[in-house]
């Protein structure tokens, strides 16, 4: 049986690979499982987010249909007088006006999107938005009481064609007849379409439009037309093309999606470390075997390839399983929980899962790459080891001598520190993530030197106890092997500490913020959601006159479109005094403004995204005109990631003439309880339509939403922890099994089994303690990056640092217990063989 040279080497490679896997199947399986889990989580999260985002964007784009351009106002609606100008403009082939409203629904926390269209024009440009009437009422598309609902909306209202639905307008309701369906609406898309004139009348938006979609004449230069139109409207209207809409949709959830993906990749990182420790220990154990192969004629390159191949096989099998598992996980999650992973960015979306070969390829490559990277250093060591020395037993620590060089680690740490100073890249904290990765790798790489120094110092403590001496001697004299075990603890614990501190800091900050922004005794809202419910001046006066109410702060919430490529900014008008703004808002910076200027107070996101820095004079589009205002201060806002502006209600009213309000905060007179006040308000003619809440209820609900939005974070972190624990277990057991000869010798010279187990427990405990101590410091530093770099650059809000000592102590105790138990279990296994045989084995 003669094989070609290449065939022979392949066979040798197979023998070595299968021999190793046959001998240590559990270890190989653990490494494969770690990579598979990491890839599966990353791929699943990416699939779910991509599916949800695609569906969400498609639903948003469907409102523009076949149009080339879309014209919007800088506020939710604009004067319909612009429409003739747009429709008759040279270069416009067709124009279709639309009124888009989020209609409040009594008893529901989310609104129904109502789209008013001119059905004749919509048929050409946005055919998806043309309702299908029943056969005997073909003109219902023009009826003033008819609405056409998407299947999801019909299901939501539990109604069908011929039924009626009630929507809120002001504090009243309007009843609409369900005249037909929208057959081309997307799955989960809750919309209703009606005639634009009927919508303007029914929802009290006479003379107002939300957007006009335009189809240009063939041959017209799109970009030139767009620029000219924007100039012609003097900034009062925004001209968008589909790329702008895509960008706008993407920015809504991009930071969230990227952060979640990065978090999912943490599991893959800990998996990579598991592969590294498994491979490194395997290479150390087989150092003399590899040396023998070198002596017998295996070249360095062949040996390097062999060890890399082992890691590569683990990576390939793990990544392939991860892709399959990730797809199954995503399908299951979408089936049971929908497309929103708790962040609230994709409400109601029901995306269909699609296998994306390119993305699968990326995640497969990532899984393979981390496994190859994990194998690279051990492979390099195996190849470069001098064969004659490596053949001698006891040379194992020499294999790790390179690890003790602190310079690469220090360079990584320094580079990581410098990267924290870099600005965001394309609105994402790319350098922040890189800094975290470099600090983590640098910290792990520094462990051999650190472990050697600490355990050498401990070794000098006076002790006459043989077992203690043995434990400390080994840890001090074999810091490389100790460091590999420490690395696993360090990676898991530091990431856990960092995430725990970040989430706790965020939660405590949100809690404090809620206390600050909810100073009133009772809050009322015209509706739980949507923009069609509001309170008129007469209704406001009735509330203010209600017995037991000492003071009312009315608030008007609306939106401004300041940048076509970004989501809208919230505009909140309320009673604020310049001198006491800090009492009403959680200010982070204030400046004095000129006496006759119009002050506004902006959230931190406005500074980051629009450059609205304190003291700066800026222009806001209000009621069709650009108004000069001055930024009087910056306040913290955890509710609106894309920016919010507060201004005095009196200023807003005088500039816009809009006297309606959405919300109010009520301060009660002494002796009046919130329940009494609410009861009195409910008897008002419109009182039953309002939403009432005490600050405590709002706070509870808000924190519940906060916790729900972090459930996936906790889950991913837990998986990373579990993989980390597996890594620790695999590392300890590999090291202990490799030391069977040492334990056999100890047993020969009179050390009892119990004492050997004591040695292992002490070693495991000490290593874990040290790993946790350094892991805490590293985790704390990483948490600073998450809190002060990644979060502000992702979500444009800052927070105060809070360390959850109780949680960290509990996890540390759990980790310590797990590590000691792992060491003991592996020790029992190592001691179960023959003592005599252990000392005679030649490897």
């Amino acid at each position: 049986m003669r094989l070609s040279r290449l065939g022979s080497l392949r066979q040798l490679s197979c023998w070595l690979l299968l021999g190793e896997w046959r001998a240590y199947p559990l270890r190989a399986l653990t490494a494969v499982a770690a990579i598979a889990l990491g890839v599966a989580l990353g791929f699943a999260i990416d699939l779910i987010n991509t599916a949800a985002y695609n569906e969400f964007s498609a639903a948003a784009r469907s409102l523009s249909g076949q149009a080339d351009l879309e014209v919007r106002g800088t506020q939710p609606t604009f004067d319909e007088r612009y429409y003739p100008m747009l429709a008759t403009r040279a270069g416009v082939a067709q124009a279709s006006p639309m009124l888009v409203l989020d209609a409040a629904v009594s008893g529901q926390t989310s609104p129904l999107k109502i789209i008013g269209v001119d059905v004749m024009r919509a048929a050409a440009l946005t055919p998806d938005l043309v309702g299908v009437p029943v056969a005997d009422r073909p003109f219902d598309t023009l009826a003033d009481d008819a609405v056409f609902l998407s299947p999801a909306a019909m299901a939501w209202f539990k109604t069908r064609v011929g039924g009626r639905i009630k929507l809120r307008v002001g504090t009243n309701s309007v009843s609409l007849r369900v005249a037909g369906g929208l057959v081309r609406a997307r799955a989960g898309q809750r919309i209703g379409v009606m005639d634009i004139g009927a919508a303007q009348w029914r929802f009290q938006r006479i003379g107002q439009l939300s957007r006009v979609v335009l189809k240009l004449t063939e041959g017209v230069n799109l970009m030139a037309f767009k620029s000219a139109l924007a100039r012609a409207t003097q900034g009062q209207l925004q001209v968008l093309q589909s790329a702008d809409e895509t960008s706008r949709s993407a920015s809504l959830s991009r930071a969230y999606r990227v952060n979640l993906n990065v978090l999912a990749l943490v599991a893959l990182f800990t998996g990579a470390f598991l592969v590294f420790s498994t491979q490194a220990l395997s290479v150390i154990r087989r150092r003399s075997q590899f040396a023998l192969l070198r002596v017998m004629g295996v070249t360095r390159a062949q040996l390097l390839r062999q060890v890399v191949l082992e890691g590569g096989m683990v990576g390939a099998v793990g990544a392939a399983l991860g892709i399959v598992g990730g797809y199954a996980l995503a399908a299951t999650a979408l089936h049971f929980f929908g497309g929103d992973l708790g962040g609230g960015y994709f409400p109601g979306v029901q995306p269909a899962l699609q296998f994306a070969p390119l993305r699968a390829g990326v995640f497969f490559t990532l899984g393979l790459a981390v496994a190859l990277l994990g194998s690279a250093a051990p492979a390099w060591e195996a190849a470069r080891a001098p064969a004659a020395q490596a053949l001698k037993s006891g040379s194992e620590e020499g294999a790790l001598a390179q690890l003790a060089n602190p310079w690469p680690a220090l360079v990584l740490l320094l580079t990581g520190a410098l990267l924290t100073l870099a600005p965001p890249l394309d609105d994402l904290p790319i350098f922040g993530y890189l800094a975290v990765a470099l600090l983590l790798i640098g910290g792990i790489a520094l462990m051999p030197r650190l472990a050697g120094a600490v355990f050498r110092w401990l070794q000098h403590l006076p002790t006459t106890h043989a077992i203690t001496t043995l434990v400390l001697s080994r840890l001090a004299n074999a810091p490389g092997q100790a460091a590999i075990a420490l690395g696993g603890v360090l990676a898991s614990f530091s990431l856990m500490v960092a995430m725990a501190i970040m989430v706790a800091s965020f939660r405590v900050s949100v809690d404090d913020w809620l206390s600050h922004v909810l100073p009133a005794d009772v809050y009322i809202r015209s509706a739980a959601s949507g923009n069609t419910a509001a309170l008129s001046p007469a209704e406001q006066a009735m509330i203010a006159r209600t017995p037991g109410i000492a003071r009312v702060d009315f608030m008007r919430l609306t939106q401004l479109n300041l940048d076509p490529a970004r989501p809208a900014v919230a505009l909140i008008a309320r009673p604020i005094e310049v001198s006491t703004a800090a009492n009403a808002l959680p200010m982070v910076q204030t400046v004095a403004v000129p006496a006759h200027s119009l002050p506004i107070w902006v959230s931190e996101a406005m500074v980051d995204l629009y450059g609205f820095s304190p003291g700066k004079q800026v222009r806001l589009p209000l009621a069709g005109q650009w108004r000069d205002v001055v930024v009087a201060g910056v306040w913290r806002d955890y509710a609106r990631q894309f920016g919010a502006i507060q201004m005095r209600l009196a200023d807003y009213r005088s500039l816009t003439g809009d006297t309606a309000i959405n919300d109010a905060g009520l301060w009660l007179q002494p002796g009046t309880t919130p329940a009494q006040a609410i009861a009195r308000l409910k008897v008002l003619s419109f009182g039953a339509a309002l939403e009432y809440a005490e600050p405590g209820e709002i706070r509870t609900v808000s924190l519940k939403i906060f916790d729900r939005s972090f459930v996936v974070t906790y889950l991913l972190e837990a998986v990373a922890m579990v993989i980390g624990l597996f890594g620790i277990a695999a590392t300890f057991s590999a090291q202990i099994l490799a030391r069977a000869k040492e334990f056999g010798m100890l047993r020969h010279i009179g050390v009892t089994r119990r004492q050997v187990l004591g040695i292992l427990a002490a070693e495991g405990g000490l290593l874990t303690l040290m790993g946790m101590a350094v892991g805490f410091v590293l985790g704390w530093v990483i948490s600073l990056i998450l809190v002060f770099v990644v979060n502000p650059q992702s979500f444009h809000w800052r927070m105060q640092l809070h360390v959850p000592w109780g949680l960290l102590t509990a996890v540390a105790a759990l980790l310590l217990l797990a590590a000691v138990l792992t060491a003991l279990i592996a020790g029992r296994s190592a001691l179960s063989g023959s003592v005599v045989r252990a000392v005679r084995e030649d490897w």
Partner: protein
């Protein structure tokens, strides 16, 4: 077959272990090298194998100057022309006996069936599917000898091949080694502390601070 010319070697600590070592090994010759501990016997084998390089002097194997070879070329030469037997056996624990013996054949792209014949020759016929953990020390060394000779090397280097064996087993192993060397026409250099082991060689040399000389 092998020519050592005025070899000199010092450790990195500065201690000189080989001093002007010269010898010419004829084809098919089996020599034993004895000497005190630390005198450089194993170092001499490492130099011959190309695993280490001398400070001065030359090593010629089959007319090839080892100093002219880079790591890859030295590896190729070892693979094709040399066999090794170690004191600590160094049998790969997760390969069967047949696979262990067949390793050099695989590396040289040769017919694997000779592995079974070699196992037969060293008295382990029919046990090719066993694993090393099922063997005694003497049996493991027989596997090592089979592996050293299976690809018909011109030169076998043996470093204390009986150091871990009892006298009876050691004597038997040495006879197996000698017989197999002869039947394969291989030359051999065996480093040993054992006079009994050395007696099985064609010639005994003593390595000392002053060089290599006949006993």
């Amino acid at each position: 077959m092998l020519e050592l010319r005025h070899l000199t070697k010092s450790y990195t600590t500065g201690r000189r272990v080989l001093n002007d070592v010269s010898y010419s090994l004829a084809a098919g010759e089996f020599v034993a090298v004895m000497g005190d501990s630390g005198v450089g016997k194993s170092t001499l084998l490492n130099l011959i194998a190309g695993l280490d390089s001398p400070d001065a002097g030359a090593i010629i194997v089959d007319g090839i100057d080892m100093a002219a070879l880079d790591d890859n070329a030295a590896t190729q030469l070892r693979r094709a022309r040399m066999g090794f037997v170690f004191q600590a056996f160094h049998v790969l624990p997760h390969l069967t006996l047949q696979q262990n013996v067949a390793l050099p054949l695989l590396l040289n792209g040769a017919d694997l069936r000779r592995a079974d014949a070699m196992l037969e020759a060293v008295g382990l016929g029919g046990r090719g599917a066993d694993f090393p953990r099922q063997l005694s020390g003497g049996e493991m060394q027989r596997v090592a000898i089979a592996r050293a000779l299976v690809h018909r090397p011109a030169l076998v280097l043996a470093d204390e091949p009986t150091g871990n064996l009892d006298p009876d087993t050691a004597q038997h192993i040495l006879l197996v080694l000698r017989d197999e060397l002869r039947s394969n026409g291989a030359s051999a250099v065996m480093v040993t502390h054992s006079h009994a082991a050395a007696a099985t060689a064609d010639r005994v040399l003593i390595l000392s601070q002053t060089g290599l000389r006949p006993a």
